[in-house]
């Protein structure tokens, strides 16, 4: 109660300052908040480029129908970067300069996000929930770290947890990893190296190129190396082909996957070969009985979209939208970019209607959640088989 006076005073001062010709916050009007999203809409990851924003829009529309955030409707405008960092920067400039968005949201891919770091700092514009699980997103030694609010558990942490889990399953396990030879894989390897040091073992590592369609050599090697547990750092196609190739060679280790392999189409596409595949995920499943997932399914059905779109990636777009909306709610009626940053820093243990373990930010903390659950494929469907693991 004691605080009320200074707060009113500050509010009054800011009000007068605002009247004295202060520019309004870009992208914010009395009725609308404009946010910018850059997706890969026609490049190698365009599959995600459609699913993620669709999911986000489900939630934004839901909020808008309820009257919006502090009376403002959320509108999302999109650009395409084709997984090219340079196009990402151009698109970000366009969003900031031309479209005058309030904040950036959900930009996909590690290198595109890394490439726009200098811009974030220059413009003081926050980027909420970049759609990459790379641990480097919350690295505080990098330019513009202050403006990036990462929601997901890093690939490095996931890899670390998966190695632990493998040893938990079988103390004499021999772990191997097959990873994508790019920034994603690099981050996975960081986690692996950490786990190696902790367990005092060497883990067999096999790389493949982004876009590869044949993994015979790598799978052969894992077989020869006698790996009993194989961690797959791929997206959708890679785990399917890896598991099928292994099955064709009569090699049957326990496959474990980093969260991007968590799509239900991996379960569908790999068929028998993918039976028993366990993947990590940083959130509850879209078909779980949490409040958030129920809301998602309800909204999805109402939207009348092709049911094939429903799935983990679509749901991922949905849940990160919840985080952004939470931040906007907290930032209050008078919305500024700094205000959003402050508000997000105040988020502690936000569980997104039971979907997350708890998203926590602080003045020096941008990591979001750090826990995963494990999901298993059985008979073409996925179910959660563990509690939250940190």
């Amino acid at each position: 109660m004691k605080l009320r006076k200074p707060v009113t005073l500050i509010l009054l001062i800011t009000f007068f300052l605002a009247c004295a010709g202060r520019e309004p916050t870009p992208g914010v009007t009395d009725t609308e908040i404009l946010i910018g999203n850059i997706q890969d809409l026609s490049g190698p990851m365009k599959e995600l480029g459609m699913a993620l924003p669709h999911g986000s829009n489900l939630y934004f529309n839901y909020i808008n129908d309820k009257g919006g955030v502090h009376g403002r409707q959320i509108r999302m405008t999109m650009e395409d970067h084709q997984y090219n960092p340079q196009k990402a920067v151009a698109a970000a400039k366009k969003l900031i300069e031309q479209d005058q968005v309030f904040c950036l949201y959900q930009i996909i891919g590690t290198s595109p996000c890394e490439a726009i770091r200098p811009m974030l700092e220059e413009n003081g514009i926050p980027l909420v929930a970049p759609a990459t699980q790379s641990g480097t997103m919350s690295d505080r030694s990098k330019t513009g770290w202050k403006y990036i609010f990462h929601t997901d558990t890093g690939y490095d942490k996931q890899a670390n947890i998966l190695v632990d889990y493998a040893y938990e399953l079988n103390a004499s396990a021999k772990v191997g990893v097959i990873y994508q030879d790019d920034d994603y894989g690099e981050n996975v390897l960081e986690g692996i190296a950490e786990a190696e040091a902790r367990h005092g073992v060497t883990i067999q590592k096999e790389a493949f190129q982004r876009g590869a369609t044949d993994f015979a050599g790598q799978v052969m090697n894992l077989n020869k190396g006698g790996a009993t547990h194989v961690i797959i750092g791929g997206i959708v196609r890679e785990p399917i082909i890896v598991m099928k190739t292994a099955a064709a060679m009569g090699y049957a280790p326990q496959f474990l996957g980093i969260s991007p392999t968590m799509d239900h189409r991996v379960a569908l596409g790999s068929g028998e070969a993918g039976e028993g595949f366990i993947a990590a995920n940083f959130a509850q499943l879209y078909n779980s009985d949490t409040e958030g997932a129920e809301l998602y399914r309800e909204l999805f059905e109402k939207s009348g979209t092709d049911p094939k779109v429903m799935g983990m990636y679509n749901f991922y777009g949905f849940i990160t939208a919840m985080v952004l909306v939470e931040g906007l709610e907290r930032a209050g009626k008078r919305l500024t970019r700094d205000g959003l940053i402050k508000a997000l820093e105040g988020v502690k243990g936000y569980d997104g209607k039971g979907v997350f373990r708890g998203i926590t930010y602080g003045p020096n903390d941008r990591a979001g959640t750090e826990a995963v659950v494990l999901v298993e494929n059985r008979g073409g469907t996925q179910r959660i088989i563990s509690d939250w693991i940190e």
């Binding site: 026609s42 030879d181 790389a207 082909i241």
Partner: protein
């Protein structure tokens, strides 16, 4: 030691299967290059189009009770090939005809833009989702003396061999094939001796589209179907060059060499020599450059000698 040899043998088998995929695409490159000296950068995309057309027909036929099995697949395949005929004609009409007097370079650029267009159009029609086509040959695996090979791969290998032999026979024994060869040597002289050069060009585009469709249909279950599948064309390109651009047997020789090198260097080589891991995705390129330094026109290619 036996372990290593066993592994190597398995990798060679897998490599041959992979190489035959490259060979199927390389064959498409070769056919067009042979007659028109154009490198068709859209070859991978043609394959993608063929695979999608086949997939669409299969999906449509799934609803008809009689046609949801092998018969349906055959029908869909026939449909895709029929489409390939039309589409090949169409490509010849819009790429080859208007540019027939322009430098080859322009035609190559036209094929690059055609690749962009085909990818975009297919994405508009099919959407961005990866499709999961099922192999018409099931997921069976044959085991011969410790070596595994899937039935599907066997079909890929045999169709590559059949196609290459067929085209080899065609170019060397049949009237039309020889006419095509003559056209590639000297279109002017060919038209003077009564070879309908325009028709030859059109047929070449049709053939290459048909080969691409066959390749695409066989490939889709193995690599899954999305509109970026065409980038595999960029990997088959070195295979075609290694064998000798414009040489039909060269396509399969180059393809298989590429496939085996790739698999073995990713496999056994990386396993026993860890430093190979650092370079295993460029081993094929190093081999290719080395071969070209010794034989500038590829293994089975002919060097052209210019008269002064």
């Amino acid at each position: 030691m036996t372990d290593m040899l066993g592994g190597l043998a398995q990798e060679v088998v897998s490599g041959i299967a992979l190489g035959c995929i490259y060979a199927l695409i390389a064959l498409g490159f070769t056919l067009i290059y042979k007659a028109t000296e154009v490198v068709n950068f859209a070859q991978g995309e043609l394959m993608m189009v063929g695979a999608y057309v086949n997939f669409f027909i299969v999906t449509a036929l799934l609803d008809i009770p009689m046609l949801d099995g092998a018969l349906g697949f055959l029908l869909a395949f026939a449909g895709a090939v029929a489409f390939a005929f039309l589409f090949g004609t169409f490509l010849d009409l819009i790429i080859n005809r208007p540019l027939k007097d322009e430098p080859v370079f322009s035609v190559i650029m036209a094929t690059i833009s055609m690749a962009i267009i085909l990818r975009a159009v297919m994405a508009l029609i099919a959407g961005p989702m990866t499709r999961l086509p099922l192999s018409p040959f099931g997921s069976g695996v044959i085991k011969v003396g410790g070596l595994f090979i899937s039935v599907h791969d066997l079909f890929i290998i045999s169709s590559a061999i059949v196609l290459v032999c067929g085209f080899y026979y065609f170019f060397n024994r049949t009237k039309w094939g020889i006419a095509m060869k003559a056209t590639s040597e000297d279109p002017m002289a060919a038209s003077l001796v009564g070879i309908p050069v325009k028709k030859v060009y059109r047929n070449v585009w049709i053939f290459s589209m048909v080969v691409a469709t066959i390749g695409g249909v066989l490939l889709a279950p193995r690599t899954l179907l999305d509109t970026n599948m065409g980038f595999l064309g960029l990997k088959a390109f070195p295979a075609a060059v290694l064998g000798g651009f414009g040489s039909v047997p060269g396509a399969i020789v180059g393809g298989v060499i590429m496939g085996v090198i790739e698999t073995v260097s990713m496999g056994t080589l990386s396993f026993y020599f860890p430093w190979v891991k650092e370079i295993n995705d460029i081993v094929v390129w190093i081999v290719l450059i080395a071969v070209l330094m010794i034989r500038p026109a590829g293994i089975l290619g002919r060097e052209e000698i210019e008269r002064v």
